[in-house]
């Protein structure tokens, strides 16, 4: 234990209103991006609600479970102190401003998207956004590079969805349990690695 982690959780547990305002601050600070860095700075360093270790556990849980990571993180922080009501308060704080803003943008879009000038600009923006979408898979590819089974599973999933138009829900319901069975932790051996006999 470092000094910092001993010192950090000094503040009393936040109430519902503080959870709301804290997450509102996180959402406002992160307007340029870097949401998880901002939530760490505000929750751990400024408000001292949690130790860094507790925060990192939250990130792990948020990534593991279904749902958007940042939203799950807000739910974690809220639940940590006030259970379900806390989760809803934190979620409301996190979403209020961005969602209201997006609704405004959406109304403008549906009202004006037929204007040729706007459509031309959007054609360009869409090309950039497609590039961002394309990068998502490559971003996490590295961690599976040495696991042939993982690459095979990913390839089969990709082919089924792209060329055979298999829908997401049946795919996950069939492939998920099979993959879980393959990766079920075996006590005697280490996890399957490249070239290791099964």
């Amino acid at each position: 234990m470092t000094d910092a982690s001993k010192l950090s959780p000094t503040a009393p547990a936040p109430g519902l209103r503080q959870l709301f305002s804290g997450m509102l601050m996180v959402a406002l600070s992160a307007f340029g991006g870097g949401l998880s860095a901002w939530s760490q700075r505000i929750i751990v360093e400024q408000r001292r609600w949690m130790s860094n270790e507790e925060f990192l556990t939250g990130l792990t849980v948020a990534r593991l479970f279904p749902g958007p990571n940042q939203i799950n993180m807000a739910v974690y922080v809220g639940t940590f102190f006030r259970g379900l009501p806390g989760a809803l308060a934190a979620l409301a704080g996190m979403l209020l401003v961005p969602f209201t803003l997006l609704m405004g943008v959406g109304l403008l879009y549906f009202e004006f998207h037929t204007l040729p000038a706007l459509d031309r600009v959007l054609a360009g923006v869409v090309a950039a956004a497609a590039g961002m979408a394309l990068s998502m898979g490559f971003k996490i590819l590295d961690q599976y590079w040495k696991d042939p089974m993982a690459l095979l599973l990913a390839a089969v999933t990709f082919v089924l969805m792209t060329f055979f138009h298999v829908r997401l829900v049946p795919l996950v319901l069939v492939a998920g349990p099979l993959a879980m069975a393959w990766y079920w932790p075996r006590p005697s051996h280490t996890r399957p690695t490249a070239g290791a006999p099964r």
Binding site: G67, L102, A133, T162
Partner: protein
């Protein structure tokens, strides 16, 4: 007419927009998103092909180009990109006027977030027991590769939906590489590409 084209024409003709002018349809939309919520793996982006299928092919709320626009808007806007569901709901309700569009937008967003939020609350409260469970380990390791495959399928789907000219595809590929190799904010890529679109270099 070749059979493939005929089939495509028949599909397009059968796809009449689902009107959301009564509460029953709104609840149906919410039910659809409620059912999808727990399949949002890997941060939620895995659902994009499913959103595309529902809003463009099944219910015909949006034309393909509109879906691409909405994806771009949700990516450009600050906050979690999963808020795209609010925009899908808005598109669904738009024919009934802005008020109803906002109602469906909020309904859709709440529906997509509710189940995963409840599961997350349960997970947080029982994390100490879950942490060392073999189920957790198998879930994490097993679903990871599947998520990887889905994300690649999503990338290809969005690229196809964007349906820009050759210059646009080159920009898409360039942005993909820059996203992986640099830490430049994606907003810059969107701004520059938007400029290229305004001058007619990228079109669709």
């Amino acid at each position: 007419m070749p059979p493939l084209l005929l089939a495509a024409a028949a599909e397009a003709a059968s796809c009449t927009p689902m009107r959301l002018n009564d509460l029953g349809h709104l609840l149906q939309v919410m039910g659809t998103f409620l059912g999808l919520s727990l399949f949002s793996l890997g941060g939620g982006n895995t659902l994009l092909t499913e959103y595309h299928h529902l809003s463009v092919e099944q219910y015909c709320w949006l034309r393909p180009s509109q879906f691409a626009d909405i994806y771009a808007l949700a990516e450009a806007a600050p906050g979690p990109s999963s808020m795209i569901v609010g925009l899908l709901g808005m598109g669904a309700g738009w024919p009934e006027g802005p008020g109803w569009a906002l109602l469906t937008a909020y309904g859709a967003e709440i529906a997509i977030l509710l189940p995963s939020t409840l599961l997350m609350v349960v997970a947080c409260l029982s994390w100490n027991r879950l942490r060392d469970s073999p189920w957790r380990v198998a879930f994490e390791r097993g679903l990871g590769p599947i998520t990887l495959g889905i994300l690649f399928a999503v990338g290809v789907k969005i690229l196809k939906t964007a349906d820009t000219n050759a210059a646009g595809v080159v920009v898409s590929l360039l942005v993909c590489v820059l996203m992986l190799r640099t830490r430049i904010s994606p907003l810059w890529f969107m701004a520059v590409a938007g400029g290229l679109g305004a001058f007619g270099l990228i079109n669709r």
